[in-house]
């Protein structure tokens, strides 16, 4: 091959970005392609799903024992990034599958899938970044796409309100994030996590105050993305207002990307400040767990309830961050993987229940489901039990690994606190089961018939049971993914 002299040598560097390039090119291609397909055609959607698969194949073929680096260290491709990318692909693909029927009557539906692909691209950049420049680039790409996705149903007032709130607060959080990064850059003179971490270890005098300032703003900015309290308040409004497939997508994929960045920062940037960031995170976790689990009890709308449930889960996932150990980090990956499966399954059932004209997302709407559709009822029951952490379903192991890691790291009281609140949380999960199995049908059901979505419900339900019975393989996979990070 000819020796092409770009600013960077080709193709060694760019080959590392093959998955990202596939997604970017396909997204732009689909934008054009969509103009030529008939309204109501699902071709664009299937091509978008195929793109995630292609990205997956590319990622799979690239991965090797050693981490790859591109753009002079601005882009890393290690086993950690690979694992989280796969979670993101799965979340995006499932989000698209859930959209197939739900969004089919929207105008300009091609743009919808393109936005999802760009959001995915942003997240792929995020998880592959080991410096603030790439990270922020990815983060904003993702955030801008998700804002639009929330507001996709333009005629729905609730969606517009939700998107606007989300956008304003998102802008505020981006401001905080950048403000924090500025302080840290000021002290260290670098954007690279590892280099900055090295420098921060030696910060003294006035610099300490600047470091604290930077760290708090950084945690606040990132905490917003993963819905940590008190930066979570956009979550229920946005979840409720967004089209349900978007809710499913945004309750999983950005959380994965956000926690991956959190882990990279904790592992590379902040090891010298372990004591400080731990005390902040403990306080935030205590609040997050309480807010998530308590507020969910008071909800009548299942999407709002699941939004608070997400906040609760985020609180539990933070146990792994607080532990800060390899066990804690692999626990986070385990939790995210299982959380992904449960959440997608739950939303698939909710979407299948959408009736013509009505949203079909109040808790009351589930009354008597078991008599009409025992299969959906069983799946929903499994997901709820799993989310509540009942053994032996996947959700039990998710909690188990992060709690054990926190106990081993010496945070026994925090874990006891979390356990008490997961008992409180069991109430609102099991209440759904009560509606499904013990109440009488109130409004006639009218289901969407969609093979791909029914398959999604089936596969996720089976996976949750399977992971509950044989979790070892997933544990091992998550341990492997962390080689090189901690």
């Amino acid at each position: 091959m000819a020796n092409v002299t770009f600013p960077f040598p080709f193709p060694d560097h760019l080959i590392t970005l093959m998955p990202e390039m596939i997604v970017a090119i396909m997204a732009m291609f689909l934008l054009l392609f969509d103009v030529f397909v008939a309204k109501g055609s699902k071709t664009t959607a299937y091509l978008a799903i195929a793109t995630t698969v292609a990205a997956g194949v590319a990622t799979w073929s690239l991965q090797g024992p050693d981490p790859l680096v591109a753009f002079y260290g601005f882009f890393v491709f290690d086993s950690f990034a690979v694992f989280s990318k796969f979670l993101i692909y799965v979340a995006t693909a499932l989000g698209m599958i859930l959209s197939l029927e739900y969004m089919k009557n929207e105008k300009h539906i091609g743009e919808y899938y393109v936005l999802m692909l760009f959001a995915m691209l942003g997240m792929m950049l995020m998880v592959s970044s080991n410096n603030f420049v790439t990270m922020y680039l990815g983060l904003e790409l993702m955030a801008l796409c998700v804002y639009v996705l929330v507001a996709y149903q333009r005629e729905v007032l609730r969606a517009n309100e939700a998107a606007l709130k989300y956008f304003i607060l998102g802008a505020l959080s981006s401001g905080m994030l950048l403000y924090g990064i500025t302080f840290l850059y000021g002290v260290t003179g670098s954007f690279d996590f590892a280099v900055m971490g090295e420098k921060l270890a030696h910060a003294e005098g006035d610099a300490t105050a600047a470091v604290m300032l930077g760290m708090v703003f950084l945690i606040a900015g990132l905490g917003f993305k993963v819905s940590m309290a008190p930066f979570h308040m956009w979550t229920p409004d946005a979840y409720e207002g967004a089209p349900t497939p978007v809710t499913a997508f945004m309750s999983v994929a950005p959380k994965v990307a956000g926690f991956v960045i959190f882990m990279r920062i904790v592992a590379d940037l902040l090891p010298a400040l372990q004591h400080e960031y731990q005390s902040i995170l403990i306080g935030v976790a205590v609040l997050t767990i309480a807010v998530g689990n308590l507020a969910a009890i008071a909800q009548r709308n299942i999407k709002r309830m699941l939004a608070y449930s997400t906040v609760g889960h985020v609180g539990f996932i933070m146990m792994g961050l607080i532990a800060g150990s390899p066990a804690g980090f692999s626990g986070i990956l385990v939790y995210l993987s299982i959380y992904l499966v449960m959440t997608m399954g739950v939303f698939a059932v909710i979407i299948l229940m959408r009736r013509e004209g009505i949203q079909g997302e109040l808790l009351d709407d589930f009354a008597g489901l078991s008599k009409v559709r025992p299969g959906y009822a069983l799946a929903m029951g499994l997901f709820m039990f799993s989310m509540a952490g009942i053994p032996f379903l996947g959700g039990f192991w998710a909690k188990y690994v992060v709690f054990m890691a926190a106990v081993e790291a010496g945070h026994l009281y925090l874990v006891l606190y979390a356990l008490l609140f997961s008992a409180v949380g069991a109430f609102y999960y099991l209440r759904v089961v009560k509606y499904i199995y013990f109440d009488e049908e109130r409004v006639a059901f009218n289901f969407i018939e969609s093979r791909p979505m029914q398959a999604t419900v089936f596969v996720t339900a089976v996976t949750i049971v399977f992971l509950g019975l044989f979790p070892d393989a997933l544990f091992e996979l998550c341990r492997q993914a962390l080689v090189g990070l901690v």
């Binding site: 709130k165 607060l169 917003f224 308040m233 005390s279 306080g283 935030v284 309480a290 009890i297 008071a298």
Partner: protein
């Protein structure tokens, strides 16, 4: 046992318990979709096949084959390994044949008896699953498979007693059986745990091999202030389990009540198989019981008391099934006396013969009950022989076998136990031996009397059948009478067969047929003592010798008295009842055991339960401190959280900013 070229096929051995299990699963899971014919064909077919395989294995073992080995591992916890394995020897095979043959007869009988019942496939699923459990119990090679089978038969017994779950009395009886058995099973579990604690193994062969050394070490343990030899403790704890399962005083109270279940299960579970599990267990563990004279004395004493007491109760009962049920308790008492005096082989022999004739008695009684429209009171029967000749003849044969009249089956086995009891002398507690001798001898008289009292009142005497049931009187269909005839062959012939073919009673071969499946110390072996006294050889010898022994005349006396009272002087029973007032009432009320338990256990337990429910559950949790303290606060917290979510974006932003502010202040103040 000598090395032998004959080997048993593992597949065949596994098929014996597996077939009933498969049948049970098919009938249990898919019974709702089946016709009656399908459900009973599958289960009965598999059990009959299992019985044929058992007989085949029996003949192979008789020719010298045996099997011992672990097949797979059930669980591992640290160094605690529980294997699943089989021990097939002569003791096992005789049980296997008894269980499967009686079970097969009961399966066939049930086809006729339960016809049209809404729970028809369920019933077959249960009895097949029961057969599986019982086979696991007898075929296992360690204490855990024994325990598994032990609990599983208890479960199916519970389910079958309460089979007609819409009847309150059936539910009550089922619970009673289950709870009383819990007491026994607790002892049993303690025994097994003690074995694990002292021996570090749960396999029979390992434990048996270690026992002589273990006894020689004189290990003792303190138990409620007594210093007890560990071996005695283990044996007694296990025996408590046997008392529960086999209906021995004071845990016998559930067995008569279990008659609430359909009659086929009374025959299968509460006469022929499950209740004999305790007898089998003690015989299987003879290498342990032999080392504890105290345990043997207790076994003898409990057996003797039960044999005698239940016989006295049987004298006055009026429910046809209860008479037979008390007879079962009493006969199990005989078996335990036999075990206690180290005549294990005689006890197992009696177990086998009893299984046939007692199952026959129950099934015949079921046939009678079927004919008289579910009437069970023998005072409302009479003269039935005219209507149901097959039932009449077969029941007569069974009654003769139970009474111990030669040459019927019960004669041989019971006679062996009685002779062994007379021959055995305990070094300490000699009075127990004397009492046991007294109990088994008077028991013979009473057994003969109550059996024929029931028989005469049912089939002879005056016709007292309810006019409404009269038109319905008829002989039962073939599907019911054929099992009766099959079992009648066993009731007549199994005694002679055991003595001649199996050579069970031969004192010159130690343990006779059982070989090393049963261990008896020479000093204890009553058969050896009997041999020294010039024992009697062979079936014919025993029959010819019978007129010179006391039990023979006691049995005839009992039958004669019954004949006299219920044929000749039919006014006499009422006069005797009136004359013996309190004693009669005492016996009629079954020695007041139920009332005693009601006072000392049931009422205190109920009031404790009521207290915990009213004061604890309702008072503290539902309405009291827990509700006010926790639940109300959580609900209030949820409402407050919800109120904070105002929907105004500036509130949200304010929350974020103040969050940052609080965290910063905290960090900077701390630094």
């Amino acid at each position: 046992m000598q090395e032998t070229a004959l080997t048993l096929s593992t597949t065949e051995l596994l098929a014996i318990p597996a077939l009933p299990l498969i049948g049970a699963m098919i009938a249990g899971l898919f019974g709702w979709a089946m016709k009656e014919r399908m459900a009973h064909s599958i289960t009965s077919g598999f059990v009959i096949l299992s019985a044929l395989l058992s007989i085949h294995v029996f003949t192979q073992v008789l020719a010298g084959a045996s099997f011992h080995g672990n097949l797979w591992t059930w669980m591992i916890a640290g160094d605690f390994v529980v294997p699943v394995g089989l021990l097939i020897d002569r003791l096992t095979t005789i049980m296997m044949v008894t269980v499967t043959v009686v079970s097969a007869c009961v399966h066939i009988y049930t086809i006729g008896y339960m016809h049209g019942d809404p729970g028809y496939p369920r019933f077959f699923a249960y009895i097949s699953a029961f057969t599986f459990s019982m086979l696991v119990l007898v075929m296992g090679n360690n204490f855990f498979t024994l325990f598994f089978g032990w609990e599983a038969v208890g479960l199916f017994s519970y389910l079958l007693i309460g089979f007609w779950f819409k009847r309150e009395s059936a539910n009550y009886a089922a619970m009673k059986a289950f709870i009383v058995n819990r007491v026994g099973d607790f002892g049993f579990a303690v025994g097994i745990l003690a074995i694990w604690y002292y021996y570090g193994s749960v396999e029979y062969k390992t434990v048996f091999a270690m026992t002589p050394d273990f006894v020689a070490q004189n290990v003792t343990l303190g138990f409620m202030g007594w210093e007890v030899a560990a071996i005695t403790f283990i044996c007694l704890a296990l025996f408590v389990g046997a008392m529960g399962k086999s209906g021995q005083v004071p845990l016998h109270v559930w067995l008569p009540d279990s008659m609430e279940g359909p009659t086929p299960i009374s025959a299968l579970i509460h006469a022929a198989t499950m209740v004999t599990a305790g007898v089998f267990m003690v015989a299987r563990l003879s290498p342990m019981f032999e080392f504890s004279e105290t345990a043997l004395v207790v076994v003898t004493l409990v057996g003797a008391i039960t044999a005698w007491m239940c016989a006295t109760i049987g004298l006055v009962q009026n429910d046809i099934k209860r008479v037979i049920a008390y007879s079962t308790c009493s006969q199990l008492g005989y078996m335990f006396v036999g075990l206690g005096v180290s005549a294990y082989s005689a006890s197992i022999f009696h177990l086998m013969t009893h299984a046939y004739f007692k199952a026959l008695l129950f099934l015949a009684a079921g046939s009678v009950i079927h004919a008289v429209m579910a009437e069970q009171d023998i005072r409302k029967m009479g003269q039935l022989r005219k209507y149901m000749p097959v039932t009449y003849i077969t029941m007569l044969l069974a009654a003769l076998a139970l009474a111990g009249v030669p040459p019927f089956a019960g004669f041989f086995s019971k006679d062996l136990i009685i002779e062994a009891t007379m021959a055995r002398e305990f070094t300490e507690y000699g009075w127990v031996g004397s009492f046991a001798t007294f109990a088994v001898l008077t028991g013979v008289f009473m057994t003969a009397f109550y059996t024929f009292r029931m028989f005469f009142l049912t089939f002879h005497n005056s016709d007292r059948v309810d006019p409404h049931a009269k038109g319905h009187l008829h002989e039962s269909p073939k599907v019911i009478t054929i099992p009766l005839m099959i079992l009648a062959v066993g009731a007549v012939g199994s005694g002679i067969w055991g003595v001649t073919v199996l050579d069970i009673a031969n004192p010159e071969v130690l343990n006779g047929y059982f070989g090393d499946a049963i261990f008896v110390m020479d000093a204890h072996n009553p058969l050896m003592v009997m041999a020294a006294d010039g024992g009697v050889h062979g079936a014919l010898g025993m029959i010819l010798h019978a007129p010179f022994t006391l039990p023979f005349w006691l049995a005839l006396g009992g039958i004669g008295l019954a004949y006299f009272m219920y044929f000749k002087q039919t006014t006499m029973p009422a006069k005797i009842a009136a004359a013996s007032g309190p004693i009669y009432t005492f016996l009629l009320n079954k020695w007041y055991w139920d009332e005693l338990y009601e006072k000392i256990f049931i009422r205190p337990a109920r009031s404790l339960g009521t207290f915990l429910w009213q004061r604890g559950d309702l008072g503290i949790i539902d309405k009291g401190a827990i509700h006010k303290g926790i639940i109300d606060n959580i609900v209030a917290g949820a409402a407050r959280m919800r109120a904070m979510q105002t929907g105004f974006v500036y509130h949200y932003a304010f929350a974020m900013v103040s969050g940052v502010f609080v965290l910063l202040t905290y960090l900077l103040l701390k630094a």
